[in-house]
Each structure stands twice: as structure tokens, then as C-alpha cells.
């Protein structure tokens, strides 16, 4: 049976299985679901990346016409799709026959992308129809799964894994429809074979008694009682994922090399559940090949992933939990801590953290090299943000001393940057936090003074009796650095509407940093609308010549830095400070902080902000953006200068107008 016949057979099987899946699904819903799944298969066969077909042979050999002709009730659409396919196949054949060479033309590329769009839009139509016919909650859930599947497919990076994702979505769909998961499990294996001849072990629930028996055989008697508790807690996930022979081989190996009893219970469970018996031996050899290495850390709860994760791409074990079981879904899965970083990642993380221990909020780089998993941070993130780390290193003390919350902790403690700050785009967070007044705020009458911060701390103590204030702020600090984009929208709105003092009060007294003041509760929709109404950040291109181009130049440079090994040491070009526009900016808008240190009033230039009225602009942002643009074009004009200042800032029309007026009065005012 060739691939096309296999595919058609598989679709027939799919249809048949779904048709028989549940009596609760209406016949018209079954038809729609069938068609959705057929489109999934067709999209799966179409690998299209970087505006080119990645495998033309695969495209040619897939029976798209056959797949689409299985759809019923959409003749017009089918005809249109078939025409696109025929055109594309002709192009590919011409290329193969030497009648055409080189890359696809724009038109050809468009036809290919149109094909995918057609399929995706067809899926959307079908999904909408399914919504209309929906009359029970279960079908709604199935529809959500199918939507999620469609979203997965829209990401070209994930398309290679689509069969797995599809199978998983189907599994959930079957589960919801109360069908026998065993049928789906068989289907998984078939789909995997069809995808590329790869054999994947299918999910089959192990007998829990056999699981208990296995661990009783290896775990010491004094530890077994709590171990059984652990097994019971994660029973669903364990029985869905464990390979008893593999687990036994791992436990046996650990026993042979006398390290079995060194593992914390959960680590041992994780490794025997998700580890590979051969890979575990490799890691053991790596750890034990160095007699000077401190080995204790590798047995701790947080290091499971080192023994398990072979590559950065995370695989997706079954959670083993049913969608309907709300209680079990609350439990964080064991898998969530098993595939986050490899042995090499960990070693690299620990070494990078050790290099930056003076500036980062870490104690034991080894522990925090592993702890990064909770922050979803990788050594790549640290590398990506190396510029900022370097900047902070070069400005020792400045950031630590002037973090607002750091000062609230007061009493001479040292303040370091939480590692989680470097999750995602630390640079943008740095600038937004500065502009929000959370990092290095100007100490002027318009903003909170040191004494007022202490007053806030005292007030907090009254409101939260029994809680250690400093501990609270420590944890709060790490929440700040995890603020999302939506959180910043909300917080800038609050700063705008409530004013600095009320905003900070609300910010400090809220439990979740992103919520800010409890006097200001808005829905996400409202926040989006209000941000659009009150700030002009989306309209800079309408006012500044070539803004979009400069914006892209800065993005491109940052992107380049992210993936380049040749990362500049400085945060910005020192030479930029000699530019006349920047010099004027420095003269007019830099701030001198006056603050109380050990009973004495001190004055110090604030290196992080420019102040335009009450509006804070991140000085680092401006200097870096201006450096990028001047280096690219060889000069800095008013448009570039203004773009450097306002980029990504939440400015009201009035603030923007003030900055705009100043920028374009270069020779006179500025």
C-alpha cells in the first residue's frame, strides 16, 4: 500500500471511529468534525516554511485532491482548492523537469501560501459552523481542542510535530466523547508510522499495582511510605507514561553504582518515569568522571531534568489526567520539571551565573542554574541579555541602591537583580520599569521620596500583621520582573489616572504586582481600549518621518545581537554622548537625585532617567537607540533622535507633543 492509499485508508478509519464515537454528537456535527480532521491531515502533509516548500517531493506525492474530494457539501470550495493544487504541482513538475529553475516567483509563492490560507480559512468556516450546531458542553470542548490544533498548525515551527499534536487533540476529543482511548492509542501509532515510519511507543496505562511493586523492590523500607504517597499523588501521570522495563533498568543501574539512596524521592520517580536507561548511564559517567565535582546537587529535587532531557525541544508526555477531573488538573505535572534543561544547559547556566554572581540575585549558582527552570529561563536568555548584565556590572551599586523596592527594604542590605529579570526581553522590561518609576526613579518632589517609601512600608506592616515585611518585598521584587506586556498596559494606565503617589501605594499594597491598585480594576478589553485612547504609542509613525524604518532598524539590531556571538561589551556607544542633540538632552533633562543616606543628604546624578515634566524616559533606551541609528546612518537627525526617545514609551498626546516640539527645535531650544 503506498502513502496515498495509506492516507486515504487512515481518513476512512478516522471517519468511522469518530462516527461511532458518541451518540451525543449530532450527525451534522460529525460531518463537520470529519471535515476538520481531514483538513488537518492535508495541512500536515503540506510543510511550508520560510516562504518555500521544504519538501517538494512530499508535496507532489501527497494526494491532496483525494483528501479534499472526501469533503462533502463544499463543492465550490473543493474546486477552488483543487485548482491551486494543480497549479502548484505544475510548477514543481516544471522545476523537476528542468523547464524552470531558481526560486519561486512572488506569484508562485503566493499560490502556495494561498493554498494554506484556503485550508485554514476553510477550517475556520467549519469551526464556526460547528459552533452554530453546538448544543452541549462536550462538543464545545472538542471544538476548542480543534481550534487549538488549528493554532498549532499556523506555526510553521511546530508543523513538524503536527501529527503528535493532532493525535493528542484527538485523544482529548475522544476522551470528552467518552470513547475508548485504546482506539485512539492504536490510531496514534498508525499516524506516527504514516508520518515518517517512526515507531513511537503508544500511551498505555500501566497497572498501578505493578508500579507499586517495582518501587517497593528498590526503594528502601524507611523511604517507601512517603514514596507511595508520591506515587498516589501522581498516579494518573505515572500509569500513562511509565515503561516498567525501562524504569526497572534505571533503578537497577542506580543500585549497582550505589547512588540509588542518594536521590530525593521525587527526583528518583521523575528519572525512572521519564528517563532513558542508556542516557541515564551517560549522565552518570559525565558527573562521576570528574572527581572534584560536587555531586550532591545532582540528586536534589530540582535536577531531574539533567538526567532526563536529551535535547532542548521539550517532548510532550501525556498528563494522564482527564479534562473533566478538575481536582487532578490542579496538580502540576511531574513532566513539567523533567524536560526543561539538559545536563549541558545546566552546566552552562551555572557557569554563566557564577560569572555574574556579583550582580545577580543568586546564592549558589548551581542551585539557581537549575532553579531557572521555574523562570523558563535558559542560558540563551542570559546570553541574549548579556549586554544588560554587562551594563549592570559596569554600574555597580547604582541599580542595586536605587531600586525603589530595594530601598523600601532599606537598612543597608544588598540589592541584586533577580535572575528572572532576564526571562524574555529583559531590555524592554528594564526600560518600561524605569519609565514606570519602579527602577531608579528620580527623587524629586513629583515622585516618592525615601521617607515616604518608609512610611509605605510601615503602613504595609499594619495591614499585614505577622508577615515578614522584608520577605514580602523580596518575593514582590521577583513578581515585578515577571510583569507581562498586559501588566505594563494596566500599570501605565494606573500611573496616568491615579498619579504617582496613589499608583505606588496601590502597587505596593497589591499582592500581584501586575494588578496594581485595587481602586483600579479594569477588564482586559477595557485596558486595551483605554491604552489606545490615552496614549499615542501606536501613532508615532504618523508624526515622525521614517519612524517605522528606524523602529525596524532598532529591532533588527536587537535581533542580531540576540543571535550573534559578537556581542558588544558596552550598552551604548560612549561617543553618542558627544552628539549635539544628546548633549542638549543631557543638559536639560537629566535629573540629580537628592536622598538621605545614613542621615546625610546626598546628591547624585540619576543615570537612568530623563525627565520631561512628570514623564520619565529611560536614558539607557535613548542612548542605545540613538547609538544604533547613528552607527547605521553615520549621523543622527531629529527624526532619529525623536524616534530614539519615544520608542515603546507610553506617552500621552501632551507629553509626546512636548518632546516633539523640543526635538524639532534643535538649534534653538534644545
Amino acid at each position: 500500500m503506498n502513502t496515498v492509499e495509506l492516507l486515504n485508508k487512515k481518513i476512512e478509519e478516522l471517519k468511522s471511529k469518530i462516527n461511532n464515537a458518541s451518540p451525543d454528537v449530532l450527525p451534522e456535527q460529525q460531518q463537520i468534525i470529519n471535515n476538520l480532521l481531514i483538513i488537518d491531515v492535508a495541512l500536515d502533509a503540506l510543510t511550508f516554511e520560510d516562504e518555500l516548500l521544504s519538501d517538494e517531493d512530499k508535496f507532489l506525492n501527497y494526494n491532496f485532491e483525494g483528501v479534499i474530494s472526501l469533503l462533502s457539501g463544499y463543492e465550490e470550495k473543493v474546486e477552488k482548492l483543487n485548482k491551486v493544487i494543480r497549479d502548484v504541482k505544475t510548477i514543481i513538475s516544471m522545476k523537476k523537469d528542468g523547464e524552470y529553475s531558481g526560486a519561486y516567483s512572488q506569484n508562485q509563492t503566493k499560490q502556495l501560501t494561498d493554498f494554506i490560507k484556503e485550508l485554514q480559512s476553510f477550517k475556520e468556516e467549519l469551526t464556526e459552523e460547528l459552533k452554530k450546531t453546538n448544543n452541549n458542553e462536550d462538543t464545545e470542548l472538542l471544538m476548542l481542542e480543534l481550534e487549538s490544533l488549528r493554532d498549532e498548525m499556523s506555526s510553521s515551527k511546530k508543523r513538524k510535530n503536527i501529527t503528535f499534536d493532532m493525535a493528542e487533540a484527538l485523544y482529548t476529543g475522544y476522551d470528552i466523547l467518552n470513547a475508548d482511548p485504546k482506539e485512539v492509542e492504536d490510531l496514534f501509532e498508525d499516524l506516527y508510522l504514516l508520518q515518517g515510519g517512526r515507531v513511537r511507543k503508544v500511551v498505555q496505562r500501566a497497572d498501578f499495582n505493578a508500579v507499586l511493586k517495582l518501587y517497593k523492590e528498590f526503594v528502601s523500607p524507611e523511604k517507601i511510605e512517603l514514596f507511595e504517597g508520591l506515587l498516589n499523588k501522581y498516579r494518573d501521570e505515572i500509569t500513562a507514561n511509565i515503561d516498567l522495563d525501562n524504569a526497572r533498568a534505571i533503578l537497577k543501574f542506580f543500585k549497582e553504582v550505589n547512588i540509588l539512596d542518594l536521590f530525593e524521592r521525587k527526583t528518583l520517580l521523575n528519572i525512572s518515569l521519564y528517563g532513558d536507561s542508556e542516557y541515564v548511564k551517560t549522565i552518570y559517567e559525565k558527573i562521576y568522571s570528574n572527581p572534584n565535582k560536587d555531586k550532591e546537587i545532582y540528586f536534589q529535587d530540582i535536577l531531574s531534568s539533567v538526567w532526563i532531557c536529551k535535547e532542548r525541544r521539550r517532548k510532550k508526555p501525556s498528563s494522564g489526567t482527564r479534562r473533566k477531573n478538575a481536582e487532578t488538573t490542579k496538580i502540576k505535572s511531574l513532566a513539567s520539571e523533567c524536560f526543561n534543561f539538559t545536563y549541558n544547559d545546566f552546566e552552562k547556566n551555572a557557569s554563566i551565573l557564577a560569572e555574574n554572581i556579583d550582580v545577580l540575585d543568586i546564592k549558589n549558582p548551581q542551585v539557581f542554574g537549575a532553579h531557572l527552570r521555574d523562570q523558563c529561563l535558559s542560558s540563551e536568555d542570559i546570553e541574549k541579555n548579556k549586554e544588560i548584565i554587562n551594563y549592570m556590572n559596569d554600574n555597580t551599586g547604582r541599580f542595586r541602591k536605587n531600586i525603589l523596592i530595594g530601598r523600601a527594604l532599606s537598612l543597608g542590605q544588598k540589592y541584586k537583580i533577580p535572575v528572572s529579570f532576564f526571562k524574555g526581553d529583559a531590555e524592554e522590561k528594564l526600560h518600561l520599569s524605569v519609565e514606570l518609576g519602579l527602577l531608579n526613579p528620580p527623587i524629586t518632589s513629583e515622585f516618592l521620596k525615601y521617607e515616604e517609601e518608609i512610611d509605605l512600608v510601615d503602613r504595609f506592616n499594619d495591614n499585614h500583621p505577622g508577615e515578614n515585611i522584608r520577605n514580602y518585598y523580596s518575593r514582590f521584587m521577583s513578581k515585578i520582573v515577571n510583569l507581562s506586556k498586559e501588566d505594563y498596559d494596566n500599570l501605565f494606565l494606573q500611573l496616568h489616572d491615579l498619579g504617582p503617589k496613589e499608583f505606588y501605594k496601590g502597587f505596593f499594597s497589591s499582592k500581584k504586582a501586575g494588578e496594581g491598585s485595587n481602586k483600579y480594576k479594569k477588564s482586559l478589553d477595557d485596558i486595551e481600549r483605554l491604552v489606545a485612547n490615552k496614549f499615542v504609542k501606536d501613532w508615532y509613525s504618523a508624526y515622525i518621518n521614517n519612524y517605522d524604518r528606524y523602529d525596524l532598524d532598532i529591532s533588527d539590531y536587537n535581533e542580531y545581537i540576540s543571535y550573534s556571538n559578537d556581542i558588544p561589551k558596552g550598552y551604548y556607544d560612549e561617543d553618542i554622548l558627544d552628539d549635539p542633540l544628546i548633549q542638549k538632552l543631557e543638559e536639560r533633562h537629566c535629573v540629580v537625585d537628592r536622598f538621605n543616606e545614613n542621615g546625610k543628604i546626598k546628591e547624585e546624578k540619576n543615570s537612568s532617567v530623563y525627565l520631561f515634566g512628570n514623564t520619565i524616559i529611560s536614558r539607557l533606551k535613548v542612548l542605545k537607540n540613538a547609538s544604533i541609528l547613528r552607527n547605521k546612518y553615520g549621523y543622527l537627525n531629529e527624526d532619529m533622535f525623536l524616534s530614539s526617545i519615544v520608542r515603546n514609551s507610553y506617552l500621552t498626546e501632551e507629553s509626546f507633543q512636548n518632546i516633539y516640539d523640543e526635538a524639532y527645535e534643535r538649534s534653538t531650544t534644545l
Binding site: L226, E264, H371
Partner: protein, 101 residues
């Protein structure tokens, strides 16, 4: 987590610890399924004279991810157990003196 009562942590305080763990993203399983390790760490503190174990836990819950030997090395680094214990008893934030916060 009842074993914490052996360290003069009350039932009510255990509930507070659970909340603190949840908020600080420290895995509660460490306290539930690795009691031997938690006890070894707490014994280090008791051993030098720290008597407010509850404050130590809620002030630095992430510390329990670390290894026992690493924590011991940090406590020893101060060079005067009695004085260190006094400082931690006065204010658990003084754990930062030996880099345990």
C-alpha cells in the same frame, strides 16, 4: 508537613508556610516528600542556636532547593555561630549575611 511541629512550628504556621511556598513558587513537594533533607537543613539552624525556625522558612523558602552541605558551608563561613544565630533570631532577614536569602 506535620514533622515541622518538632521544630516548634505551629499548625497555624504550617498553613502560612504552605501559602508562602505557593506564592514564592517553591515546590511544596520538597517539604512533603523530602522531609529528611528539610530536617537536616533545619537541624543546622537549630544546631547553631537559631530558635525561630518558622521565620527562617518563610523568609527564605527557596533555600531548601540548595544542598545541605552548601548551606552548612554558608553558615560556617560567618565564623561565629553564636553571633550569627543571635542575628538571625533578631531578624531572619540577616540570613542574607551568609547569602541565604
Amino acid at each position: 508537613m506535620k514533622y515541622l511541629e518538632d521544630y516548634d512550628v505551629t499548625e497555624e504556621q504550617i498553613e502560612i508556610i504552605k501559602n508562602v511556598l505557593e506564592e514564592s513558587d517553591v515546590d511544596e513537594d520538597i517539604f512533603i516528600y523530602s522531609p529528611e533533607k528539610v530536617c537536616k537543613i533545619l537541624d543546622l539552624f537549630k544546631g547553631i542556636g537559631v530558635n525561630n525556625i518558622f521565620n527562617v522558612i518563610v523568609t527564605s523558602p527557596a533555600m531548601f532547593y540548595d544542598t545541605v552541605s552548601s548551606i552548612k558551608a554558608r553558615l560556617d563561613s560567618y565564623g561565629n555561630n553564636e553571633e550569627l544565630a543571635k542575628l538571625i533570631n533578631e531578624d531572619p532577614y540577616n540570613l542574607s549575611i551568609v547569602d541565604l536569602i
